[in-house]
Symmetry: C2
Subunit: 364 residues, 2 copies
């Protein structure tokens, strides 16, 4: 009862900064010391409340108490960062008491659960030097709108210094935006931690916005146009802006491109078409029509320092990656193929990034 | 019917990047050409759905059609950026079809509606040069945790150049975080637009995280401790980090502090205690126990180039600002007092920022 205290009136004086009003102090999610997790929703009028998380095989029903608070305790849950949703009388939505939302381009029905372990994970905030993430607004000539890209600069990056850095272009998936690799993927923290352990080279990481056509237009025409417009935006707008603003090393040896799902397909398309620009490619759980890139595969022979392909065993897109890998083997194009545990989720992609970043920019 | 198409199966090929699955193409909110707005929620099992927006006096009920989609058309709505929520069978939550969420530190139950007018508003994306916003992670000695602050650098800011810039420290409210002035307040776009019109001096704007104690602890002890810990964090951690990393002008003539609600009270506390550091103060709809700052008011006489106080007529906190202004008049401390239309909302604070930024750093 202590934790899901009923709504109480708090005076302006006690509140310290807001007018008198009702505040709800219900806690959800609550992660217990044994890594069980309690989810709570105040919904006296609701008839049916379920929770479904990235770690669960099926939704579970919450139970209502006499005060109208629904709750369930699940787990223990393995340490990680997960997405989950409530479904309230048929409506899938966020956990409204949880300020952490998984943002995206099409909906806002997913919250974020973080379960810490005894040992920090590769994407946990640790007591190490931290890089910064800059969001840049730009008028894209290719797309014709004002958009943003994000840029990670490593700890110690000094725009006035003499050091120059290689650049990884890191692409998101179809549901995401340019901030997803940071806010949900924790890419910057993965880099901070790898750098603190001297496991990767200091690099600048550019996270462009991958949608150049409306994200809700699923027609093949729009999707095809998205790939070519995104290519134009990345090569013609983003890359020159990055190279003008940051202390970068140029040339294919110093540029890599990697991405997940839609961004994996884009990395393959753009990377293989621009082997004079990118010298390393990472394709994480790639989606889309990979047939279009097959004619480009032979060109990659001897050109890429890293050609990394990964997909989870439970991912519906696994056959596309396996087909790609089969063709690379036939053509004798050097690559790394990692069939791993996992489905089409960020739990897989954080791990892929932590595995791929250390391989990049290691010389010829 | 065209617009709230029923869920449809999209094949991997048509989708272009994702495994086969159900996609929902329901549009909400839909802003019509005449500025009426239609809100929609697919909820066949729900019994009662209402919408409440920042522009509305009371919630309105949505009506359910035969396909289980609830909807209502409201307005015309005056051009602006607004927050709104759905309440589904008693549960206040986001509009799950709207990717734009108003993020905060305590909950995630609010979506964002943007209604454009014929003429752009001060915070609309316009075809002007854009600044950038950088998020910096840092280990706060004062607070003992790793936190973030955000920094706006104006268009043309060159870390390798010779120009130096004055700095505005811009504080958020009790429900917000260090990103709120950017993602919901559109502060960067306000600056971009004012700079394009040459209405303000180019400046660096630092947006720290204002919570130094747990945001859900409303006890007076915690709130008081928050003010002093935040002061310590800002002066001891954030300010030196900013001045080491960016090309700033130093001294009180070149530093201002302003904020809304809790951040207004913090600006008064920290600004008036550090008149050797800050030469201008802005207090927007300030909350909290302003009695504590009254002993400091007399010291401000002749010290501040700008001492700006504003509050909306419909804001419950108006008496606190009026009392403050009365004391400044009695003490003969120069200030600007603006009692404006509006309540305790961001609609007011965006306008205040657009009014105050042009006044800053204009010389003695």
């Amino acid at each position: 009862m202590r934790l899901f205290t009923i709504a109480l009136m708090v005076s302006a004086a006690a509140l310290g900064q807001r007018p008198p009003r009702q505040v709800d102090t219900l806690v959800s999610p609550e992660v217990h010391a044994d890594r069980r997790v309690t989810f709570r929703l105040r919904a006296p009028e609701a008839h049916n409340v379920t929770v479904r998380g990235e770690w669960m095989k099926a939704p579970e029903k919450l139970a209502k108490d006499e005060s109208g608070v629904w709750s369930i305790t699940l787990g223990p849950v393995e340490p990680d960062v997960y997405s989950y949703s409530f479904t309230v009388d048929g409506v899938q939505t966020v956990d409204p008491r949880n300020p952490q939302v998984k943002l995206g381009v099409r909906s806002s029905n997913t919250s974020v659960l973080e379960v810490k372990g005894e040992k920090p994970l590769a994407w946990d905030v640790q007591n190490v030097p931290h890089g910064a993430v800059e969001f840049r607004w730009y008028a894209s000539k290719a797309v014709g709108t004002t958009r943003r890209f994000a840029v990670y600069t490593p700890p110690g990056y000094d725009p006035r210094g003499s050091a120059r850095y290689p650049v990884l272009y890191l692409l998101h998936g179809s549901g995401d935006d340019e901030g997803s690799w940071v806010w949900y993927g924790r890419a910057n923290l993965i880099f901070d931690n790898l750098l603190a352990e001297k496991k990767m080279r200091p690099m600048i990481v550019v996270m462009p916005f991958g949608h150049a056509t409306p994200p809700n237009d699923y027609s093949p025409a729009s999707r095809g146009r998205n790939t070519s417009l995104f290519e134009e935006d990345l090569i013609g707008d983003v890359l020159p802006a990055v190279e003008a603003a940051y202390r970068v090393e140029k040339g294919p040896k110093n540029r890599a491109i990697a991405g997940l799902s839609m961004g994996g397909a884009q990395s393959l398309h753009v990377g293989l078409k621009h082997l004079d620009t990118f010298g390393a490619i990472g394709a994480f759980s790639s989606g889309g029509n990979l047939d279009q890139i097959h004619p480009l595969l032979a060109n990659a022979k001897g050109k890429l320092s890293v050609f990394w392909i990964g997909c989870g065993e439970e991912d519906n897109l696994l056959p596309a990656s396996e087909k790609l890998v089969g063709e690379l083997e036939q053509l004798g194009v050097k690559h790394i193929w990692r069939k791993t545990a996992g489905a089409h989720t960020w739990r897989v992609w954080r791990r892929y990034l932590a595995e791929v970043a250390p391989l990049l920019f290691r010389g010829t």
